[in-house]
């Protein structure tokens, strides 16, 4: 991470897309575009007229090679100071302050290789989708890495980036998408419908051509604990597991 890359800059909201009943994507055009790695995040800062500032971290959903704009996907939390403001007040054309890219641990590039196991809960799939989009771009350039993404969501409708991931599952060699619904029966045979456990982790690991070399787990604290413990119980060494916790 170069020092110059972490100054605050102004970003303009160019588009807002409703992704699920509780999650919207915000497309930000950057005054000073930056290069980033899949898995990194930005900090955003809001300032009230009396000088009060609120700052929160949001993972970048875009593929690293995207260009001058980035996508953030933000879940609306009731009583959440920043996420509620973004959902209820921000409209295209608004400006917010952004700094990034940030984070040098929860990152993956095709050159890091695989097999790669991605475990995401709710909006925690955001940095993982950046990795899969990165893989998709690399795929087109001829490199393949075996990747399995397990997304845990409450319902079919709440599964963030579901359609894109289903599409990728069909057209990308080496990529497997597994959906786990905790409050609804799943629609596809290869999916699950319960809370993540060791048996589920062991099952998805077997669908990779070899033991995962890198495992990324992201979501609420409760999800990360359950998923990381499941991966450990399925025999994955602790050193290969990296986690990012969104709080909650």
């Amino acid at each position: 991470m170069s020092e110059g890359s972490v100054r605050w800059q102004t970003a303009t909201v160019i588009d807002i897309v409703v992704r699920t009943p509780r999650i919207k994507s915000f497309f930000l055009s950057l005054e000073h575009p930056f290069e980033f790695q899949a898995g990194q995040h930005v900090d955003i800062r809001l300032t009230a007229p009396d000088g009060y500032q609120a700052m929160r971290s949001y993972s970048i959903a875009s593929a690293p090679d995207h260009g001058t704009s980035i996508e953030l996907a933000v879940e609306r939390l009731d009583d959440g100071e920043v996420s509620m403001f973004m959902h209820d007040v921000i409209v295209p054309g608004d400006e917010i302050e952004v700094r990034g890219p940030l984070g040098g641990h929860f990152i993956w590039s095709v050159t890091d290789g695989g097999p790669l196991l991605l475990l995401g809960g709710g909006s925690g799939v955001v940095p993982l989708v950046s990795m899969v989009r990165h893989l998709k771009a690399a795929n087109l350039a001829g490199s393949t890495v075996p990747v399995l993404l397990l997304l845990s969501a409450r319902t079919w409708d709440e599964a963030l980036f579901r359609d894109e991931l289903l599409e990728f599952n069909k057209e990308m060699s080496g990529f497997t998408f597994v959906l786990n619904l905790t409050r609804e029966a799943s629609a596809r045979g290869q999916d699950f419908g319960r809370r993540i456990d060791a048996a589920m982790a062991a099952d998805v690991v077997k669908r990779l051509p070899g033991p995962p070399v890198h495992v990324f787990v992201c979501g609420s604290n409760a999800f990360v604990n359950a998923a990381a413990d499941s991966a450990l119980a399925a025999g994955i060494p602790a050193e290969t597991i990296r986690t990012e916790r969104y709080g909650g």
């Binding site: 991470m1 020092e3 110059g4 972490v6 102004t10 800062r45 809001l46 300032t47 009230a48 007229p49 000088g51 009060y52 500032q53 609120a54 700052m55 929160r56 971290s57 100071e81 403001f85 007040v89 921000i90 608004d94 400006e95 917010i96 302050e97 940030l102 984070g103 040098g104 641990h105 929860f106 787990v217 604290n221 604990n225 990381a228 413990d229 991966a231 450990l232 602790a238 050193e239 597991i241 990296r242 986690t243 916790r245 709080g247 909650g248």
Partner: protein, 201 residues
């Protein structure tokens, strides 16, 4: 500073503002952040080692460590992810008391804190002396593994990533050596009042 259209922020209790550093907000819960799975460390396997460079000076078992003088501290804590929590109550062994028990005085100005999961963070000795402890209890209860139990470092006046979880030792170093998060872009010192979040701040 550009104001954000339509943003007023949550209603705030102004009398607390002097205790909340810039860019931080008050949190009632206790969020958890860490780089990997939560290590579950058995008390029987727990040890704490004080080192000078590569040389171990003294190692304590859990029972031996718990026999050291205990101190209670009530402090405000500040996480780099922008939450602050006020009046948290900790109990543990002051770093000063650990040095005393090992019969040494700080041989260098720099310390690396080490953890069971391989992580480390650097803290100047000046910021440990009289200010920091190895905490064993939080809010009157044994420290939860989520929050770094059995024992974590507590350096309350620096951003909380300096308060290394799952601590298993302190090491004096010749130079100020970057730890895990510092190597990954975080600030070498981490003063919340000066918003030293990332390198270059």
């Amino acid at each position: 500073m550009a104001t954000t259209r339509g943003f007023t922020g949550r209603p705030r209790a102004t009398d607390l503002s002097s205790r909340i550093p810039p860019g931080q907000h008050l949190e009632k819960d206790f969020p958890v952040l860490s780089a990997g799975p939560t290590p579950r460390i058995r008390i029987a396997d727990w040890t704490f080692t004080l080192k000078v460079g590569p040389r171990p000076v003294k190692t304590w078992s859990w029972t031996e460590f718990n026999a050291l003088p205990m101190t209670q501290m009530t402090r405000d804590i500040h996480c780099v992810t922008t939450w602050s929590k006020l009046d948290t109550v900790w109990e543990g062994v002051l770093v000063d008391d650990i040095l005393k028990a090992a019969s040494i005085e700080a041989p260098t100005p720099y310390v690396l804190a080490h953890s069971f999961d391989g992580y480390s963070t650097n803290v100047p000795m000046q910021d440990l002396a009289g200010k920091a402890m190895v905490a064993l209890r939080f809010g009157g209860e044994p420290l939860d593994s989520d929050h770094g139990g059995p024992a974590r470092l507590l350096v309350p006046h620096l951003y909380f990533w300096k308060s290394a979880k799952w601590l298993n030792g302190l090491q004096f170093t010749e130079r100020d050596e970057a730890g895990f998060w510092e190597l990954r872009g975080y600030h070498m010192y981490g003063d919340p009042w000066r918003e030293q979040r990332y390198s270059g701040d």
